[in-house]
């Protein structure tokens, strides 16, 4: 049953992941009627074309999807499944020629384009329309209808027509300034960025401080104050009252461990026993750094000078 659940989960994840990938595609630009300056296909002809753009930051394989101009026939023009070329790199595009003859090659559709038509990109299930683009009735020959990004992330688009065609190229402004150039223009001396950045760094760490003060430091202080107050009013010290279950059950606490170590030390002097005591003390106090539950590791390290912090420092240059 558990295996079945895991398998189903993996299958769902894979399907969802694939679907999400294909859904990142859009029909970015369409040219219905080429003029004498239009792009020429592999056969030396000028045709209408459809540009598919990958809006994501990962490569998308779209073999098995469909292009169509007929909502009643969503499987009109199949994009070949087994052609390795049917994938688009991040933020890149592929061009399909609307020649009306799919046997011309992978990137040719089974229909032609004309003003007024709607072009659909359909998922590989043959039912889900991923994206569509309407060609305006009055679109002149040699002009295209295109989707241009309107937000900073480049994920929201608006349809614009007529446009100067840019087949297979980015539909935005090719001369747009980089973030660095924009910053150089807006903030030439760097004071704004410095001010904002310093504020963000301080805010981020101040929030972290606040959370840990609220979650841990404040309750710890309260506990400590309460225990001091209680100790004044009680004959039993709070430390004894707050023994853990393990301690109540007979597990030795840090003081017992230290006493054991002292006895060992008196029996046979040596740093080893003190190291064992320290490790026991850390383990019982839950401060041992490499503690795995119920495991205490003590590694002998020759010449470690474990009890002298100064010996662990680098020599002063």
């Amino acid at each position: 049953m558990r295996k079945l659940l895991l398998f189903s989960l993996a299958l769902l994840t894979a399907v969802a992941g694939y679907a999400q990938n294909v859904s990142d595609l859009i029909i970015a630009e369409v040219l219905a009627e080429p003029d004498s300056t239009g792009v020429i296909d592999d056969y030396g002809r000028r045709e209408g074309w459809i540009e598919i753009f990958n809006t994501s930051m990962g490569t998308v394989k779209f073999g098995g999807c469909y292009l169509t101009d007929d909502p009643a026939d969503l499987k009109k023009s199949l994009i070949p499944k087994n052609d390795l070329a049917t994938q688009i790199g991040p933020r890149q595009s592929k061009l399909f020629y609307a020649s009306g003859r799919t046997h011309d090659g992978t990137f040719y559709t089974d229909f032609t384009l004309a003003p007024g038509k709607v072009v659909y990109l359909v998922s590989n299930d043959g039912r889900t329309i991923i994206d569509q683009l309407t060609i305006p009735e009055d679109l002149p020959a040699g002009k295209s209808v295109a989707k241009l990004a309107t937000d900073a992330k480049g994920l929201l688009f608006e349809t614009v027509a007529p446009c100067d065609p840019t087949p297979g190229a980015y539909n935005g402004d090719p001369t747009a300034a980089s973030k660095s150039d924009q910053m150089a223009e807006r903030d030439p001396h760097g004071w704004i960025l410095t001010l904002v950045s310093v504020s963000v760094v301080f805010s981020a760490l101040a929030i972290l401080w606040f959370f840990f003060w609220l979650l841990f430091e404040r309750p710890a202080k309260r506990r400590s104050l309460t225990s001091v107050r209680d100790d004044k009013n009680s004959v039993i010290p709070s430390a004894a009252r707050n023994l853990s279950k393990a301690q109540k059950a007979g597990t030795p606490d840090g003081e017992v461990a230290a006493a054991i170590a002292l006895a060992l030390d008196m029996e046979q002097s040596g740093d080893v026993y003190a190291a064992i005591a320290l490790a026991l003390h850390l383990e019982l106090g839950a401060t041992a750094h490499d503690a795995e539950s119920f495991v205490l590791t003590i590694r002998p390290t020759p010449n470690s000078a474990w009890n002298n912090p100064a010996d662990g420092f680098r020599r002063k240059p």
């Binding site: 981020a204 972290l208 401060t287 750094h289 912090p309 240059p317």
Partner: protein
């Protein structure tokens, strides 16, 4: 006989002697200095030995086109260099750092987190100086991050913002990290009085395992939501720490802080060193970067120390005062800058151990520099 002579001439043309220039020799000499300093003075040997030897490797004069140089596609060195160029190595090093860092000092005294933020002023001070020197904003951001005193972060950010300057930035960052005791000590002494240096801080409270486990989760969520562009560094840092503190993934934590970080440190040092080919490295810009890097370390240290003094003005009760000597530890050269706090503190008061207190701002500095890198990336990337 003529064929033998021609063959010898042809072989000569392929040797390093025939292709040698004074720039190559200068870089090889610098590489030897790095190795010497690392071995004799023990200044950051784990970094300076690989970087120094990498400099020698990268500057062996050779005939181009043999597909062996670090900048020749498909060569062995080029393949290893992709970890630097594409930014894989720095997050892996952060995984190891997370798995070896004990955040107890920070959790027990959360107020010390802000010192880690103050010391990041070095980054932005150097950014302003670099802009004044005529660098483009993206280049200035990459140079500024040297002030974070965090080699992996410097490599990560410069690979994104200014790949051409990455060699100089990385070597500068690691060199100054090795020189932290030399740079920081005089600034600390200059900015503090003997009375301030003698301040004894109360023993930090003991931190429970539960707090240590919650810290990486909460810490990651807060910082990553504020600066998502720091995700690769912050994610790996806190993930590594969770492996360490969860108590149930000891093998993973040991691998991350042991073999994994050793392998990546070796590769990152060697390839960064090898990327300093004389023709790409020896330029006026590199010298300026070294100067600005030094400036950023000075600003970071001074800001950390002065910020503590400023906090002390607002604190009531002498027993709650913070020793300003831990201010320098806000730069994230872990644990070197904290050691400097301890050493300088004990010079004034031999019984005053500041190491554990200084580790708080020190690890906060790691988080702060990763956050700062994320901010610069989102503005300039």
């Amino acid at each position: 006989m003529e064929h033998i002579y021609e063959s010898l001439i042809q072989f000569w043309q392929y040797t390093g002697f025939a292709n040698c220039s004074w720039q190559n020799l200068a870089m090889i000499a610098i590489g030897i200095v790095f190795i010497t300093v690392a071995i004799l003075k023990e200044w950051e040997p784990l970094l300076l030995v690989p970087i120094g030897f990498g400099m020698i490797i990268g500057n062996i004069p050779m005939f181009p086109g043999l597909n062996i140089g670090i900048y020749e596609d498909g060569s062995v060195l080029n393949t290893l260099y992709q970890g630097v160029k594409q930014g894989w190595y720095p997050p892996l090093i952060f995984l190891g750092i997370g798995a070896m860092t004990d955040f107890s000092a920070l959790i027990s005294q959360p107020r010390l987190i802000l010192i880690g933020a103050a010391a990041q002023m070095g980054i932005f001070g150097a950014y302003l100086l670099a802009l004044t020197c005529g660098f483009a904003p993206a280049e200035a951001g990459a140079i500024g991050i040297i002030g974070g005193a965090d080699g992996p972060t410097a490599i990560f950010l410069s690979s994104k913002l200014a790949p051409d300057l990455m060699g100089a930035i990385a070597v500068s960052a690691y060199s100054y990290m090795a020189l932290v005791p030399v740079i920081q000590r005089p600034i600390m002494l200059l900015l503090t009085s003997k009375k301030e240096r003698a301040i004894e801080m109360p023993k930090p409270r003991q931190v429970s395992q539960r707090e240590k486990i919650i810290f990486p989760v909460i810490g990651f969520l807060i910082t990553a939501f504020i600066v998502p562009s720091g995700l690769p560094l912050l994610g790996m840092l806190f993930f590594g720490n969770l492996l360490k503190e969860s108590g149930v993934t000891r093998r993973l934590a040991e691998t991350a802080r042991g073999p994994l970080i050793d392998v990546v440190t070796t590769l990152i040092g060697l390839t960064v060193g090898a990327s300093t080919q004389a023709d790409k490295f020896l330029s006026g810009k590199s010298l300026m970067i070294f100067g600005l890097g030094l400036g950023s370390f000075i600003i970071a240290t001074a800001c950390g120390v002065l910020f503590v003094k400023l906090i002390n003005l607002t604190i009531r009760g002498a027993d709650r005062k913070i020793n300003p000597l831990i201010g320098n530890a806000g730069v994230s050269a872990v644990p070197d800058s904290a050691r400097v706090s301890e050493v300088v503190g004990r010079e004034t008061n031999p019984n005053n151990h500041l190491l554990m207190h200084a580790m708080g701002p020190n690890v906060a500095g790691v988080i702060g520099s990763a956050v700062a890198a994320g901010i610069l990336l989102s503005f300039l990337g």
